[in-house]
Symmetry: C2
Subunit: 141 residues, 2 copies
DNA sequence: TCAAAGAATAGATTTAATCTAAATATAGAT
DNA sequence: ATCTATATTTAGATTAAATCTATTCTTTGA
């Protein structure tokens, strides 16, 4: 929907050596426009109203390709669906056990490990779980 | 298989107010005997060789019940299956992207948050991902 | 001894994700 | 411009983890 995010998406694709097809631009652009860490199906439904519509397989293919190329990241921690994040720079997440929303948390300062017990560390993240602000308010009522 | 882990499992179930049926003892006991963070199906297969065998549904039911009661913990970060951990005390994990093994990492000292941006923090963990010791060795060959 | 509640079970169902095989689109060569 | 090879998209079939359903078995305690 948003012209500037489509432009940004196109640039990101080119930079990653992925040809910027209409469908790929639409998928990445949809992800860039939100901070809600949507699932593949959420993105598919969001794009479904567009003409021409995009196949579900293409949404999955594109997201997986982008993850493989390190353009976006995915997480399987909350709920049953894999969720996606257009921001790859290190930051933390808070997962709400009730509404399944995922919130960004500013990166905590801490030692960055490259090795741990002989294992090669490629990424590290602080994961917080609990009840989010909104759900806490709901509970009070 | 192991008598002492069955005894421990039985005690844990009683302490959590869950009646210690044969099946529940077998499931929890199997989880106590390993540090490999097995999936429900791994536990099911391990128990399958026992007589009498246990239903897959019972394995899932028991594990979910134990997670709900806070006796064990589950994680959905590596591979496609949910993995289980009999250790609930705070510790970190390393996930190998290649072999999907999960390794325990001693808890890093760090500030324990109870609130973050207004969200109620119930648990927090450092998550490490990369290539494990064994897989690194494999690669060298 | 019997009724009611608690557990376990096999198999059906759901659902996220992947796979398949065919159709379209794109790019490079002639 | 036309042809050809490659890349991309697609709808629908398939897979696999997890849950659900409806029945059977077990335990408890009146
Ligand atoms: Mn994020
Ligand atoms: Mn562990
Ligand atoms: Zn919430
Ligand atoms: Zn490994």
């Amino acid at each position: 929907m948003n012209k500037s995010s489509q432009c940004e998406a196109s640039e990101m694709l080119k930079r990653a050596g992925i040809s910027p097809s209409y469908q790929r631009i639409m998928v990445l652009s949809a992800l860039l426009e939100t901070d809600e860490h949507p699932s593949a199906d959420t993105i598919y439904k969001k794009l479904g109203s567009n003409i021409p519509a995009i196949s579900r397989a293409t949404v999955y293919n594109t997201l997986n390709l982008l993850v493989d190329r390190g353009v976006i990241q995915s997480m399987r921690t909350a709920g049953s669906e894999t969720r996606f994040d257009s921001i790859c720079e290190a930051h933390s997440h808070f997962f709400c056990r009730k509404c399944k929303k995922i919130y960004d948390i500013a990166k905590q300062i801490g030692e960055i490990k490259t090795e741990l017990d002989g294992h090669l560390v490629e990424s590290q993240e602080f994961v917080y779980k609990g009840l989010c602000r909104e759900c806490r308010e709901e509970m009070k009522k």
